[in-house]
Amino acid sequence: MERGDTERIEITISSRFENIELVQVIAEHLCENAGVDEDGSHWIGMAVREAVANAIKHGNKLDVRKKVNATFELQGFELEITISDEGAGFDPEKVSDPLNPQNLMKTSGRGIFYMKTFMDQVHYSFHPDGGTSLVMTKNLAKGSGIASTKA
């Protein structure tokens, strides 16, 4: 697979759950167009879904007046996805580990874990004036599908 193209797609949505799929579909199509197989595209789309859902629910507290911005930048085989919300942020260190036996039967807390499973890197930044940005990266040439990701 050869890729010398660059691609940039940006979308801003209001904080409604029904808008999550719009962003997920963009991610999947971008991956498919880059030659990623269906499984690989699906898992990247799932990471995006989880990120946007968190931005809507935890970041923007379901306030439909607040926006979630998603930016997709593909340079060669490096895909960088940025999901930004208008929330106050959180402490990533305080997110519980869903693999801890004490947390296994919890009904929430797996979203960030899935993002980290399906993407190469996941990094949060919190803006002094408010707002949180999540940056996820994936090298599309390094194999796709969940078997090739770290669990």
Binding site: R16, F17, I20, A53, K106, S108, T117
Partner: protein
């Protein structure tokens, strides 16, 4: 999400169809299970074959459903897991929690 129910040998088989995702299906799943338990159903088999999409919220509701049924003295098991859902349960080690079947007769007989 749509849910259809039928009974086989006093096992309530609930067929789920569509999405079990945040804001679309997750709370519906909770309602379906709550209704079944409140109706006295102790043996519940979720047929997942027509589930098209599930996210972490949907997974959470599956876990919650299992807890709800178990706390009421019942059993909840899964049938016909789609491959991607199977992988989601594996990476979070939830596959060790649920009994999963590919054959309905075998699943019904396991209760």
């Amino acid at each position: 999400m749509k849910a259809t129910t039928r009974t086989v040998d006093d096992v309530e088989i609930i067929g789920l169809e569509g999405k079990i995702t945040i804001g679309a299906g997750d709370t519906q799943l909770r309602e379906v299970i709550t209704n079944a338990v409140n109706s006295g159903k102790q043996k519940i088999l979720l047929d997942m074959s027509k589930v098209t999409t599930i996210d972490s919220s949907g997974i959470g509701e599956l876990v919650g459903s299992y807890t709800t049924v178990t706390n009421r003295g019942g059993k909840l098991k899964l049938l016909h897991l789609p491959a991607k859902l199977n992988e989601l349960l594996h990476v979070t080690q939830l596959i060790t929690v649920f009994e999963v079947y590919e054959n309905e007769r075998e699943a019904v007989g396991s209760f």
